[in-house]
Amino acid sequence: MTSQLDNAARTLAQSHFRTLRLGTPFQPRIDALAKTQDWYNWAGYRAPHSLWDEELEYFAIRSQAALFDISPMTKYRIEGQDAEAFLDRVTLRDVTKLRSGRVQYTAWCDDEGFVLDDGTLFRLSPTRFRLCSQERHLPWLLDSALGFDVIVEEETEAVAGLAMQGPTSFAVLRDAGFAGVEKLKIFDLAEFPHDGGTIVISRTGFTGDLGYELFVLADKALSLWDRLMTAGELRGVRAIGYNALNRARLEAGLIVANADFTTAEHAIRTDRLRMPDEIGLGFMIDPEKGHFNGRRAILEARAKRKLRHVLVGLEIEGNIPAEHAIVYHKKSQEVGLVSAAMWSPMAKRNIAIASLARPYGDTMVEDLWVEIYAMRELQYQKLMKRAKVMARPFIKLDRRTANPPADF
C-alpha cells in the first residue's frame, strides 16, 4: 500500500522536466518586482541577480532594510535524542555549547579533514536542529548518522527563507508585530506566531549589518512577505537580488562555498581540496571537544605544518576591483589568486579575498602585488597594484550587535 502511494507521488513529480528553474514560494512577489529580469540559476531556482538596480539595492542593505530570498539554500532537519551528539561529531565547533535558541556559523569536513561546506546550524530545541548550507550533503549526513538515534531529513523545498538585512530591519519586524523580537541578540533565534502557524526568526545574516533571517513553511511564505512589505513601507524596505548581497558579504569578509574555495565533494583536482585552516575557518576547530570528522587529519596537518594555503583579506591600492587577479610576490612570483573583489563604499577601500600559498599571506606578508586586467573599450589596461593583508571583516558596524537594536 505505501509503496503504491509512493509510486503515485513519484509519477506526479515527473513533470518537473518542463520547469528547469523552479520558482521559490516567494516567486510571485519577486517576479512582480523584477524590473531588470536579470536571473541566475541558484541550485535549480530562478533567482535574481538584481531586481531594479544592483547599486541601489546594495545601498538599501546599508541604509534601510533589504529583503533577500534565501529559499534555495539547502536545509536539513536533524532531530532526535542523539542530534546534539551527532552534530558534535560531524561539525567542527562544539555543539554541546550551542544552547537551544542559538545559531552557530560552522563547517564540516570529510575524514581527510577537507572542508565539505560551511553553513549555519540552528538549534530549535534541545533535540531539534536545522542545518543550512550551499551544497547538498544528504548521503554524507545519513552515512555519518549510523549508530546515532537521529533523523536527517532534507527540507529545502518545504521551508522557505528570507533574509531581512539593514539598519531598519529590526524596526520593520517590530512594526510587523513580531512581539519580543527586540530580545534577540546576535545569533539568537526564537519562534513567533504568523498566520495561524509559527515562524523562526534569528538575528543572523550575511551582510555584517543589523539583520535577521526568517524561516517559514512554504504555504505561509507569501503572507509573510506581504506582512513585512506592508510593515516596512515607511521604513524603506526593498527586495534585492544576489549582486547587492554579494557586495555586502564581501565587506563583511564572509566567504562563499565554491566561489572562495572548492568544496571537497566537487573538487575534481585533488590539489584544490582545503582544510579549515586554509580558508580562514581554523577558529571553528575545537581540539578540546571529543572526536569529530576530520579531526585527526586536521590536527596532524597543524602539527606537521602541512597546511599549504591561507585565505586572507587584501586591501589593494587604487580603486579598480581585482576580481580573479593573480597575486604575486615581488611582482614576479605567482603566489595566489583573488576570489572576490570590489571597491567598498563603506570602507572606502579597494578590498578583496584571496587564497595564497603559504608562507605568503601567513608569515610573509610584505611585497605582495596583484595584476589587474581591466578591460576598457576592448583593451586591457594591465595594472600591477600593491596589496596589503588586512584582517576581516573589512567593516565593523556597531548596529549589527547593538542591544537593544536601534530603529535605524
Binding site: Q14, F17, A43, P139, E265, H266, I268, T270
Partner: protein, 539 residues
C-alpha cells in the same frame, strides 16, 4: 610490379585513420577492404529505400577531436550532434530519466531517492577523476615495460609520474577501480535499483561480463572518457549515421591521393624471409607493399592471415588466448512513425536520448546468466536510440530509424552455430520487450535488420562478434594490449603492423589505435609526424 608504400588491410575507421595519416606523410597507400563498402563497424547502409541505418555502432563520443581536425573531417561532411540523456523504464510504469540540466537530473533522481539524488555529485567527481587520469594515455603509445629504450623508459616514467602524482589513497582507489565490478562500485554511492541499473549499463556494453564481474567498472570509464566538443562524457549522433564518419575518412583519404579497393578480401599476408611483402587477395591476386598494416582484430590477423610457422609460439599462444568473446547483437528497425511510450510524457526529451528497459542490476546479471549458458538473453538488456529525432538525413520526414543494441548474445548457441531460426528468436526477444512498453510497436515496423554475433563476424570480420576487437579488461589494456611485448603496433613479423581496436587504447569508434599506429610506422620510416596534432591538454 608496383609496390605500395603501405597496404592497409581493412577499411574500418581505424584502418582509414591510419591510411589517412600515412598518405598525408607522403606515402602511397592502398586500403583493401573485403566488403563492397568501407566502415567496418562504423557504417551506414540503406537496406530499405529511404532509410539509412547505423548498422553496427550507433552513437559517437570516443572519436578523438584531434583526428577530426587533422584529417579535415568537417570539410568532408562530418557533423556530430549531442543528444539529451535518455531513460530507464521501470516495470511499474514509471521511468528514470537522465537530464542534461544538473538540477533537473537531481530532481529526477529525487523522485526515487533523495539520498541518491544528492550522491550524484560525488559519484561524478570520482568518475571524472579516473577519466582525467586515463584520458592523456589514449593518444600515446603504451610503454614496453620490458624495454630499456630511452623512449620506453620515458613513457614509463610518464606513467609512473602520473601514478606518483596520486596520493597513496588515490592510487589504491585507481587500482581498485580498474579491477572492481560496476555493481560494487555503484553500491558505494547509490541505494536504488533503477539508479544503479542506469549507471551500470555503461559497464557492460560490449563486454562478455556481467555487472557483478570484476573489471566492469573500467568498462564504464571507457564509455565516459569521450566527449562531444569538449563536453566530457557526452554522447552524440553522427549526422547521417556512424557511416558518416568513415565516409568522411574515405573522402579525406582519397582527396590526399590515397587509393581504396573495396570487394577485395585479403586471403593472407605475403611473407618472405620473416618480412611482410604484401598481401594475396581471395582471388589469388598478389599486391605488393613495403609494409602492411592490419585493421582486422589480432586473432583474425595472426590466426587467419599469417601462417603459424612465421610466428613465435609464445606470441601465438597469447593471441589464441586473447579474450574476444562476443556478447552483443544489434536490431536495426525502420519505423513508419514515432513509437509511443505511454510511460513517457509526449513532450519528454527522452525520445531523443537512449532508452533502456532493464531496471535492476539483478536483471542485467540474469541476462548475463543466459549468455554463460550459451543462450541469448530471454529478457535482454537493450540500449535503444531513435537518431532520426535529431537527424533528418536518415529517414523520410515523420518516419524513423531505431537502433537497438542488445545484450547478451553468445558467439555460439550451446556450442553450435547460430541458425536463422535462432536469429529470429533473438529478434523476437527484442521486439517483445519493446512492445511491452510501446503498444502497437510491431505495426510500425517497415523493415528490420537483425545481427547476431554470427552476422557481425561474417560481415565486419569481428572475431566472435566482439565489438571492441577484444575484451577491455585490465589484463588486456595499456602495455598488455593485445599481448605483452607487442603493444606498440608492431608485430613479430618485420613490416607487419596492427592498427585495429585490438590495440591500445581499445575499441569503440575512437580512431586512436589507427592514429597511434601511424605515428609508430612513421617513426620506423624516420618520417615527420608534424601533421599529427598532439593530444589535447587535460587541464
Amino acid at each position: 610490379m608496383k609496390a605500395w608504400d603501405a597496404i592497409v588491410i581493412g577499411g574500418g575507421h581505424n584502418g582509414l585513420v591510419n591510411a589517412c595519416y600515412l598518405q598525408r606523410a607522403g606515402l602511397d597507400v592502398l586500403v583493401v577492404e573485403k566488403n563492397d563498402w568501407v566502415g567496418g563497424a562504423a557504417t551506414s547502409r540503406e537496406l530499405t529505400p529511404g532509410f539509412l541505418y547505423s548498422n553496427c555502432s550507433y552513437v559517437c563520443s570516443l572519436f578523438r577531436p584531434e583526428i577530426m581536425r587533422d584529417l579535415e573531417l568537417p570539410r568532408f561532411g562530418l557533423q556530430v550532434i549531442s543528444y539529451e540523456g535518455g531513460a530507464v523504464f521501470t516495470r511499474d510504469g514509471d521511468y528514470l530519466a537522465n537530464y542534461r540540466d544538473h538540477d533537473a537530473h537531481r530532481r529526477e533522481f529525487a523522485r526515487f531517492s533523495k539520498r541518491d539524488a544528492e550522491a550524484y555529485d560525488r559519484y561524478s567527481r570520482d568518475v571524472t577523476r579516473q577519466c582525467r587520469f586515463i584520458q592523456p594515455l589514449l593518444m600515446r603509445t603504451a610503454p614496453d615495460p620490458t624495454s630499456l629504450k630511452p623512449r620506453d623508459l620515458g613513457e614509463l616514467l610518464y606513467l609512473g609520474k602520473k601514478f606518483a602524482d596520486l596520493s597513496s589513497e588515490e592510487m589504491a582507489l585507481t587500482l581498485r577501480f580498474w579491477t572492481m565490478s560496476i555493481s560494487e562500485f555503484l553500491d558505494e554511492y547509490f541505494e536504488t535499483d533503477v539508479i544503479k541499473a542506469n549507471f551500470a549499463l555503461s559497464g557492460i556494453i560490449g563486454t562478455a561480463l556481467g555487472p557483478m564481474s570484476p573489471g566492469t567498472a573500467y568498462v564504464l570509464l571507457h564509455h565516459y572518457m569521450g566527449e562531444v566538443d569538449g563536453s566530457v562524457g557526452a554522447w552524440g549522433y553522427a549526422r547521417g549515421g556512424m557511416g558518416a564518419i568513415t565516409k568522411a575518412l574515405a573522402a579525406s583519404f582519397k582527396a590526399s591521393g590515397g587509393t581504396i579497393r573495396t570487394g577485395a578480401e585479403v586471403d593472407h599476408v605475403l611473407v618472405h624471409g620473416g618480412k611482410a611483402k604484401g598481401v594475396v587477395l581471395a582471388g589469388g591476386e598478389e599486391v605488393y607493399g613495403k609494409l602492411v598494416v592490419s585493421n582486422a582484430d589480432v586473432k583474425r590477423t595472426f590466426l587467419k592471415l599469417v601462417e603459424e610457422k612465421e610466428l613465435p609460439d609464445i606470441f601465438l599462444r597469447r593471441v589464441k588466448n586473447f579474450k574476444i568473446r562476443g556478447s552483443s547483437g544489434k536490431v536495426n528497425i525502420a519505423l513508419d512513425s514515432l513509437p509511443e511510450f505511454p510511460a513517457l510524457p509526449k513532450d519528454s526529451p527522452v525520445y531523443r536520448g537512449d532508452m533502456h528497459f532493464t531496471d535492476s542490476i539483478e536483471r542485467m546479471e540474469r541476462a548475463y546468466d543466459d549468455w554463460k549458458a550459451g543462450r541469448w538473453s530471454a529478457d535482454p538488456f537493450l540500449d535503444m536510440v531513435i537518431p532520426t529525432t535529431l537527424d533528418p538525413t536518415m529517414a523520410p520526414p515523420g518516419k524513423h530509424f531505431m537502433s537497438c543494441f542488445v545484450q547478451y548474445a553468445p558467439p555460439r548457441i550451446a556450442g553450435r552455430e547460430w541458425t536463422d531460426a535462432d536469429r529470429d528468436g533473438f529478434a523476437e526477444s527484442v521486439i517483445a520487450q519493446i512492445a511491452e512498453y510501446s503498444p502497437g510497436f510491431r505495426d510500425r515496423i517497415v523493415h528490420m535488420e537483425v545481427r547476431t554475433p554470427r552476422e557481425i563476424e561474417a560481415e565486419v570480420g569481428l572475431t566472435e562478434g566482439n565489438i571492441f576487437q577484444g575484451e577491455l579488461t585490465f589484463d588486456q589494456l595499456l602495455f598488455n594490449r593485445p599481448v605483452p611485448g607487442y603493444a606498440q603496433y608492431r608485430s613479430p613479423l618485420s613490416g607487419l603492423y596492427m592498427c585495429g581496436s585490438s590495440t591500445h587504447p581499445g575499441g569503440g569508434v575512437m580512431g586512436a589505435p589507427g592514429r597511434n599506429a601511424a605515428a609508430e610506422i612513421l617513426r620506423d620510416l624516420a618520417k615527420s609526424t608534424s601533421h599529427m596534432s598532439p593530444a589535447h591538454d587535460v587541464i
